[in-house]
Subunit: 205 residues, 2 copies
């Protein structure tokens, strides 16, 4: 792994764990047992690292966001999409955990994050419509609008919400996935509901 890549990965881990605003630039060098000079040779400022990580998140999200090529034929297909999305957001959870400080430092980020969210909600809405067309789900346009928005809210805010939950609660990505699946359950056809019940047990038992 290149030094540059080592710096990016250590920064990502620190930002995710403590929030960008709480990690001083020099701390990243300390964490890697690297001289400050070496760190500064690769990146001039902390903001430059954040920018690199954000662009990487955006690029890696693109293929997930486009959604599956073929129309969904079962809840299992939606599940795969949600799982990939949750993992990606969890990998880069620093982005959603401290939006204020990030937006204040990078004004352009606001516009791009809003575009990404709109695209995600549109994809979620389309996938729900495909499930209705495939006879797996029984939901009208209003239901789908609420479900898509609620899935997106859970995906982006769960790891922030986890910080105000009692520390004894399981708050990992699995629990978040269980929450999202449970939102769908009442709208699913009977066969599909049995599958979701099976899946969600995997996540909380």
């Amino acid at each position: 792994m290149t030094t540059r890549e080592r710096i990016l990965q250590a920064s990502l881990a620190l930002f995710n764990a403590e929030g960008v605003a709480n990690v001083p630039f020099n701390r990243i060098a300390t964490e890697l047992g690297m001289s400050q000079g070496n760190l500064h040779y690769h990146f001039k400022r902390k903001e430059e690292i954040v920018d690199w990580l954000w662009r990487r998140f955006e690029r890696e999200s693109e293929p997930i966001l486009a959604g599956p090529a073929a129309p969904l034929a079962s809840t299992d297909d939606l599940w795969l999409f949600l799982h990939l999305g949750f993992e990606k957001i969890h990998d880069y959870r620093f982005i959603y955990r401290d939006i204020d400080s990030l937006f204040a430092t990078f004004p352009l980020l606001g516009t791009r994050l809003r575009a990404l969210t709109a695209q995600s909600v549109a994809t979620l809405r389309r996938l729900c419509e495909e499930l209705v067309a495939a006879g797996c789900m029984n939901a009208n346009d209003d239901d789908i609008e609420v479900l898509a928005m609620q899935m997106m809210l859970t995906a982006t805010c769960w790891f922030s919400f986890a910080r105000v939950l009692p520390e004894s609660e399981d708050t990992g990505p699995g629990r978040a996935a269980y929450q999202v699946l449970s939102l769908l359950a009442p709208y699913l056809a009977n066969d599909e509901r049995v599958y979701i019940e099976y899946l969600r047990r995997k996540y909380i038992d």
Copy 2:
């Protein structure tokens, strides 16, 4: 209104709009057309103001959190509870909009906010159980657990989530209330569902 109270209210408005970390202490005096000396006479530091506002939020939340004295007899009763809770969180939304920076400055806040969240989720769970007992709702313990958690997630994270939604979206407390009511809809008895449909139309039309 006393000078002290004017400072508290102006600070609350600024913190809600821009986030605590983005409002320098002296900005509060400027906003009020007050000398820095006068501001400093009443509060030594910004943190002192945050502490006062947080305690006020905690105190004002207590009677709401306890829930209605009599067991719920209709969805309308739950609605009133949710409405009061959403309004209170909206009034003090700076608390949930930048949790990282707040926790870093006030380590004790974390413990108290987690206790408040646990108490809220427990009350939401109890109110759902009362609706089931009253025959208004059809949901098992797993459903209720998911609903209570999802209502709390929406209540505390909606106004942060709003910042990553397209600016054309309506993201006020009414829309949040509509989201929460919609989560309940599939679990309600027919009569109650008609009432919720009526209520939710009020919020989006």
